[in-house]
Subunit: 204 residues, 2 copies
């Protein structure tokens, strides 16, 4: 066999792929099991129930298996730097490249927030992400150069930077945000986080 996955695994993957596309296009309640079955290789609706007990189970599987947390933690753990500035520049530069590639997931997370009060995302976040992020922050604060900020402040500021970057990139209708290339925007955002937007000799 060319593909060593079982027939069932292939079907499962096709169903999830079709469901993801339709959820993103039409929302959760706007997507019917019929539509998913048809998009997943013209299957019969009943066949879907061999792989997932309910429609919600398909959605939950998407959140659990296609999230960017592994990539995010990989970047945080592998970023190099002898100073806090070098580490943050290295990590955020990569994060601002990689996270927007998971825009589909962020859209699914918004659906989760609306349709399920965020419970699927929250479970993965609290189980897999937060514990590891704490360790990263401790290591970051041991590097020289940071203002004496509370760790939780540091986490929220960096998370806000990434979230704000992604949201403003996709929300502004026909705005000029796309006229500058990503590298310029990334640099501007990181510089602003590190040193702010005020002139140095204007400090009051």
């Amino acid at each position: 066999m060319i593909d060593d996955r079982s027939k069932g695994d292939v079907a499962r993957a096709e169903i999830m792929d079709a469901a993801r596309q339709l959820f993103l296009l039409q929302g959760y309640n706007g997507t019917s099991m019929r539509a998913i079955a048809q998009a997943a290789g013209n299957r019969a609706v009943a066949g879907l129930y061999n792989h997932f007990p309910t429609k919600e189970a398909i959605f939950r599987a998407l959140i659990e298996e296609q999230n960017p947390y592994g990539a995010l933690l990989g970047i945080l753990n592998n970023a190099q730097g002898e100073t806090a500035e070098a580490y943050i520049r290295s990590a955020l530069t990569d994060i601002l490249i990689v996270m927007p590639q998971y825009y589909d997931f962020f859209q699914l997370a918004l659906i989760d927030l609306r349709e399920f009060e965020g419970r699927h995302v929250a479970q993965v976040l609290s189980e897999k992400v937060f514990p590891q992020v704490i360790g990263v922050i401790v290591r970051l604060q041991a590097l020289p150069g940071l203002k004496p900020l509370d760790g939780v402040v540091l986490v929220r500021l960096m998370a806000s930077l990434v979230v704000g970057y992604i949201v403003t990139r996709n929300i502004a209708p026909g705005m000029t945000f796309e006229q500058l290339p990503h590298e310029v925007w990334s640099r501007q955002f990181i510089d602003a986080l590190l040193y702010g937007i005020m002139d140095d000799d204007a400090r009051e």
Copy 2:
């Protein structure tokens, strides 16, 4: 009459109020016209169609009539300050207090993004908000103290700050973000935007 609104206006308001609550709780496709009619004073479904031609028209009316743009522009136009720092502190302090009060609207905007590709929000943004914001930025850049940043960079940084603040406040499940009071968080965010997170004498 105690209320000088016509009977029709009262019904319209009740319908919109019920629809908003249900859209926020259950999403757009998850909310039926039946449920709206029942929540709006146990009305008959057919009565809704005297006030709105379709279900989408109810949603559009919510976006158009309950958005925070008037409040936002009011703050930007009324903020005082002889320097850029004073103006930004004044404006952002107010914005970070007022905008989270419109969290319901942001949630409706997310629904718009998912169900209607953001077309209702984008229309209001491009017609009413962007033209006025340009004027504010020009005035801000005439004040002393700013680094020589492109106006569009300034807009996106400030928008990201506000969006990131609101999103991280409501997404993190049971996280410690609520353990510090709003005033502290607001101050931390504004300070970070103005002067960054690096120690002054650590600049490389």
